[in-house]
Each structure stands twice: as C-alpha cells, then as structure tokens.
C-alpha cells in the first residue's frame, strides 16, 4: 500500500483536503530557486570551492536516489527535485575546506539511510540533509569543526583555522558584531553565514505560500525569547537574542529545514509545539551543551517526535464516532 502512495506522490495529511494546482516538482523547484541566494553568498564568501562542494553533494544525492530506485525496481523520481534540495542543504551546511570524499559519503548516507531506506519521499522520519550532516559530524568530527575565514577577510599569517562566532561566544566569551553576521562576513558553514541571503530565499518561499509561517517564526522566536531571558540575566556571559538567530545554522534551518513538509507536524498546534520546543532545545545545547551549535540536533530530535505530536494534536472532527468495537469515552479521547 505504501508503495502506491509513493508512486502517486500523495501527501497524506489531515483534512480538509483541497485540490490545488500544486505538485511536488513545482514546490521543490521553487525551494531550489529560493536556495540560490544562499548558494551565491557561499560562493561570494568562500570561493568556487563552496560551489564545488554543493555540486558534489547534489550530484551524489541524485545518483544515490537513481541507483537505489533502479536496484529496487521502483519508479525513478529524481526529477521531482527533492534529492537536489537534500544535496544543496547538506552542501550548504559543510565547512568550506571539507573533503570532497566526505561530501560524497554524507550525501550517500543522507539519501540512502535518511530517505530511501524509509521508503522514499514522504516516509522519512528525519530530515535527510540533517541526518547526513549528523553522520558526517560523527564520522569526521575534526574536519566538521575546522573552519576557514571567508575570502573577504584578509587571512592572518599564522592563523590556519578560524573560530566560528558561536565557538568564540561559547569558549572565549567574545561576540561577533551583528552586522557581520547579517551579511555573512564570518567563519562558518558555507551557506549558513549570510543571514540576508537566506532571508531573501525564505521570504520568497513565504510569498509563494510554500512555507507555513508558524514554523520559522516559532523556531526563531523561541530561540530569541529563550536566549534573551539569559541575556537579560547576564549580558556579559550570554549572547543577545539577535545573535542567537543570526549566528550558526539557525536562519537556514528555520526557513529550509524546520519547514520540511515531510518531517514537520501537519496540525497547527503541532507545528507550534514542534517549532517552539526545537528553538528552546537549540539554545539549551548552545548554552550548556558540549558543542557550540545545537540547531542540527534540536531539529533531528524534534523530528523523532513528529508522529507523536501529529497523533495527539489531531483535531477532532465534529461528530466523529468511536472506533469500531470501542465505546467513546466521555470528554474526548
């Protein structure tokens, strides 16, 4: 049964069901378009090497999807664009000097384990790009945390590696200026540094109506408010709310990963829970965890709860009866 669903690319969601002139390829191609500013910013700040990383990730993602579906005798769906997005997102979250072999490995893992083993698009529990990144984080922890300064900053002679704004804030108590963070003139994953470029893409998606505003707003809002509480308590030790949402992967994740239709809840209440809890969790990891950045794990962690959230926030349809062989309990199930 699940195979038929996959072939016809049906997104199963709670009612009401409207017929719209939308299809998976159309949505996906719009998302790809929305990611172009972030790609452009990554090339501007980190050079052609950044473009190479992204292209390798996209290529391997497509190839893995194609090979997997061929081997399993399933219809090949690489033209729907979902594998391209996974590849792009994974590439954008890698450090600039990351090895190409690592990028290949991560893309393969993202598509193979993160998506196809679950049954393909629509059945994966975790965001494939983030799962691929988590795998790389565990596989190459040193490469994944070795950063280079952007091209736009003249390199100091003896500085081989640079520290990200989050690492500086966590380990040395220094906070990068917000304007640098907004433009993207800091060390970090190639596609995560430029807030303005991501924002352009995200707002375009919102304008096209493909993003549910609750998710990015809830996620970034929770980060800002929760992080802000600690900033108010001790502004020397803790970064300010804008720093929290501008630094690291927060922006990219909020617009392009939290909003992933497959791995986020379908009910409005569920979406609020998902986004708010994810944002709080990201700040908790940033402030008290061993790692400077918690966005990736916060989303993966909340992904695991999506089926549960969906189940318990399902709206009760008026007149909905008891299940077969069951007496309806008073006061709802």
């Amino acid at each position: 049964m699940s195979e038929t669903l996959n072939q016809e690319k049906l997104l199963v969601s709670s009612s009401p069901h409207f017929l719209k002139d939308e299809s998976i390829p159309k949505i996906m191609h719009t998302v790809i378009l929305a990611l172009i500013p972030a790609v452009a910013a990554s090339v501007y700040f980190f050079g052609l090497r950044a473009l190479l990383l992204i292209l390798v990730c996209v290529g391997v993602s497509l190839l893995t999807e194609y090979a997997f579906q061929k081997i399993r005798n399933k219809p090949v769906t690489i033209y729907d664009g979902s594998a391209i997005i996974t590849g792009m997102l994974l590439g954008l979250t890698l450090p600039p000097d990351f090895t190409l072999f690592g990028a290949i490995l991560g893309s393969f893992f993202a598509i193979c384990v993160g998506k196809q083993l679950y049954g393909g698009l629509g059945f994966n529990i975790f965001n494939p790009a983030l799962l691929g990144r988590a795998f790389l984080m565990a596989t190459y922890p040193v490469f994944m945390t070795t950063w280079a300064e952007p091209r736009t900053i003249a390199k100091a002679v003896d500085a081989v590696t640079a520290a990200t704004p989050l690492a500086l804030a966590k380990f040395e108590g220094k906070f990068a200026p917000l304007t640098d963070l907004f433009i993207g003139n800091v060390a970090g994953s190639i596609g995560e540094t430029s807030v303005i470029a991501i924002l352009i893409g995200g707002l375009y998606l919102r304008y096209k109506g493909y993003i549910n505003w609750k998710l990015p707003l809830g996620y970034l809002g929770a980060m800002a408010v929760f992080g802000g509480i600690f900033w108010l308590i001790n502004p020397v030790k803790y970064p300010n709310p804008l720093f929290h949402i501008f630094a690291g992967g927060a922006m990219l994740a909020a617009w392009f990963m939290v909003t992933d239709m497959v791995t986020s809840p379908v009910t409005p209440l569920g979406q609020w829970i998902f986004a708010l809890a994810g944002g709080v969790l990201a700040v908790v990891i940033r402030l008290w965890g061993g790692l400077p950045e918690g966005v990736m794990y916060s989303i993966l962690f909340m992904n695991a709860f999506v089926p549960l959230i969906n189940k318990h926030t399902r709206p009760r349809v008026f007149g909905e009866g008891a299940k077969e062989g069951e007496i309806a309990p008073l006061g709802g199930s």
């Binding site: 922890p141 040193v142 945390t145 070795t146 003896d158 500085a159 081989v160 590696t161 520290a163 380990f171 061993g290």
Partner: protein
C-alpha cells in the same frame, strides 16, 4: 527423597562446589591482579619521573579522602621528584592522570594518562605521546593553561587537541586540582634531607616481594 529436600540439596551442593572452585581460582588470580596493578602504577611513576629507580609512598588523609604521593628516588635513595594521581570527570567518564612534579614545585616533569574512556580517535588522543609530552617542563605557576589552535606562547601553556577541547580541558583541570592538593599537603621544604616519613610498606625493586607471594599462591 521428597521434592523440597531435593531442591534444597541441589542448591546447597551447587553453591558449595561453586564457592570452593571460586576460592581456588581467586587464590591464584588475586596476587597476579594485584601485581598487574602495582606494575602499572610503577610504570606510570617511572614514566613521569624518568630519573626515578624506585619510589616511596606518602599518604595523608584530607577530610574523608586519602591523598597519596609517590616520592621518586634514584639508585642512591635521593628524592628526584614527586608523583601523584589526578582524577576528575572528562567528556564521558573519569580521566585519571599520573602527574610528575619537580621537587622545586615550579615545573612538571611529565604526565601520563592512566584511565580514560574518551571518544576513540578524538578525545582519547589525550593518551598519545604528542599530547602528554607537551606537559614536560611546563610551569605550574600560576596554573597550567591550554590554548586552542595556536602554539603555546607562555611557559605555562599547552596546546589543546583540535576538536577535543573538553577532554583537553579536563586533563588540565585535573592536574591543577591535584597540584593544589600536593602543594597544600606536602610543602616543598619538607622534601629536604629528612623528608616526609614514608607510610606503609616501602616499594622494592621490580622483582620484589610481591612476585614471591603469587608464586606461593600457585
């Protein structure tokens, strides 16, 4: 024989036989296990105090804890340095470090990681000579410090392992804590001619008393 008696006898016999076997095995294994521990300890002391040929044991009770210091002595019996164990939490569990200190209490003579369960290939590189070796001749005043991604600038600094700051930090913290304890409980003036009175049995040369006991146990 009724069933209850049978059950009773079953368990009593099995228990008694098992107990007897265990006693024999333990009699054989325990001296060996103790000897292994002793050997490990001795090797660690000799690594952090390279000039030492033997050591003397000193113990002091601080509150409820016992603090043990090993005084390394050369062939002539003259003190060459002090060693002690520094324990504390790392990234995943306890990190135990043997610390060797110069008698003048100004510099470290060396360290060796004894116990650790850090991430293989990452945090557990604290056990590699490249990291341990950095502590040789590091000044301990005001404190041992670590520095990230750069070459140490001051004589009291070492370079943390890239990607394993927490483990490196834990090692340095443990060492500093233990040095503070040693400084407070065994002031350096005490190591002069008379020295502190050794507590317990003095250790002997590697082919010492211990070995004979376990031969006897066989």
């Amino acid at each position: 024989m009724n069933n209850v008696t049978k059950m009773f006898l079953n368990l009593v016999i099995i228990g008694a036989v098992s107990g007897a076997i265990l006693a024999v095995v333990f009699g054989y294994a325990d001296p060996l296990i103790q000897a292994n521990k002793e050997k490990e300890l001795k090797e660690a002391i000799f690594v952090v105090l390279p000039e030492a040929k033997d050591y003397r044991l000193h113990e002091k009770t601080i509150g409820k804890e016992k603090f043990t210091v090993y005084e390394g002595v050369d062939a002539g019996g003259n003190p060459v340095g002090v060693a002690f164990k520094a324990d504390g939490g790392g990234f995943q569990g306890n990190i135990g470090v043997m610390v060797g200190l110069n008698l003048d209490y100004l510099r470290l003579k060396g360290i060796k990681i004894l116990d650790q369960v850090e991430t293989p290939g990452l945090g557990n590189r604290i056990g590699e000579p490249a990291f341990e070796g950095q502590f040789k001749n590091v000044e301990i005043t005001p404190k041992v410090e670590y520095i990230k991604n750069r070459k140490p600038e001051k004589p009291n600094q070492i370079k943390a392992i890239t990607g394993a700051t927490i483990s490196s930090d834990a090692v340095v913290k443990n060492i500093n804590n233990a040095i503070a304890k040693a400084l407070a409980n065994f002031p350096k003036d005490g190591w002069g001619k008379g020295g502190y009175a050794p507590s317990g049995v003095e250790s002997s040369t590697p082919t010492g008393v211990r070995k004979e006991t376990h031969d006897g146990g066989k």
